[in-house]
Symmetry: C2
Subunit: 248 residues, 2 copies
């Protein structure tokens, strides 16, 4: 992967309680996308693509951008004509199915390697990792593969929330789920709380936003990644794909 031109902004969440859509991340978004630019929006994570694109157009429109849904034309062409791409949140399995079936996965890998700014939120942030194995979402559809875009060389768990959520409830905590992930996988995971984000500019990868992130790595207790931390050392893992995810 040609990392040196990479410009990636990965938000844990697109809507923060008490704020309009994307409002909490206005500053990093305006640093990320060129002023007044055309943004190709990938709406596949939700069911109603037109409605979702209208929502993205309103949120990014308030920041001065023009939004086009990739489903309104040939997806590769819409991306080719854009100054940036935004992959919205929703269901990660539906999103992965969409980008693989349309061929957009390969298009995005190539264009981001060439320097096209990529922004993801929630499912769109998971998709930027090596695989979708650290999504919180329900597997409502079966994508052809769990392999994701591999724009960054570690996994992200968005909407990260520590601890048991309901007294006496026996479902797993997020930490237990990620410990199970580490039983099966070597690539580390950054637990990214709501209100926080990660930026990757070339080979520089940085934690940003309102709250510290949490590192989950094999053989170590979970540990804090304070806002401002350099995360580039986590990119020791292969950037694209995970053993066993090739599908067929």
């Amino acid at each position: 992967m040609a990392d040196h031109g990479r410009r990636v902004l990965l938000l844990s969440n697109s809507t923060q309680a008490g704020h309009d859509y994307l409002e909490h991340a206005a500053a990093p978004i305006q640093e990320h996308f060129p002023a007044g630019g055309r943004i190709a929006f990938v709406p596949y994570a939700l069911h109603d693509w037109d409605r979702y694109t209208a929502k993205a157009a309103a949120g990014l429109g308030a920041l001065g951008y023009k939004v086009t849904g990739v489903h309104t034309g040939d997806p590769a062409t819409v991306v080719a004509e854009a100054d940036g791409v935004f992959v919205g949140g929703g269901n990660t399995f539906r999103l992965a199915t969409g980008v693989h079936r349309t061929g957009l996965a390969d298009v995005l890998r190539e264009r981001v390697a060439d320097g096209l700014p990529y922004m993801g939120a929630s499912a769109g942030t998971v998709l930027a990792g090596p695989s979708i194995r650290t999504t919180n979402d329900m597997p409502i559809v079966q994508p052809p593969t769990f392999t994701a875009l591999g724009l960054i060389g570690f996994h992200i768990n968005p909407h990260f929330l520590s601890g048991a959520v309901v007294p006496d409830f026996m479902g797993e905590t997020r930490e237990q789920r990620l410990a199970e992930y580490l039983e099966e996988n070597e690539t580390p995971v950054v637990g990214l709380p709501e209100g926080s984000w990660i930026t990757a500019h070339g080979t520089t990868v940085t934690a940003g936003g309102a709250h510290d992130a949490v590192l989950f790595a094999r053989g170590a207790e979970p540990g804090p990644l304070p806002v401002g931390s350099d995360l580039s050392a986590l990119e020791t893992a292969p950037h694209v794909g995970v053993a066993g995810d090739a599908g067929c």
Copy 2:
């Protein structure tokens, strides 16, 4: 599917707060498996199969059963020599990978159709449905297919818990996740709270346990399924497989 000999017991959870493993379900288990019987245990949902089998042996041993892990010999042979099978909870993706890779999925479908009592808990309950699309688990490994055993003709969401769990947290509620499932799938889902279970005896399917279940069906608001409800009318859907899950 030869439903008429079917004997299936599907627990939402294996451990209830304040109780030992399986203790809360002692009564239905002792109705389900023949007294003193040999139980084949499927431990694939957790990482340490020996340790998990020891736990199942202790829990079922307290109820008079003898437990053998299917991994301690040829899985089909262990099942063939058993009076019942118990598929334990853990991670549904890891479980599905295990039963498909070993060929146990086909063995279990055949033996349960022939009358072998099947008990599942949590992931083992999801596995009894048409697909794993309604699991709560993190997709830490990619199974060859989302298609499950199809022992019952509707989906179950175990550990069902209504409503938002943390104020101002933007992750989806369980209801939102199941609404997204219904955007993509027609088979109804029974949300099964902890402490509750479903029994299928031949063509009779019944809600049991401590708390009412919740029905999620396309085009309808979620509605209660009181303890004792006849669920057999939900089995209108195809019993095995879901369109698009065939994988390769």
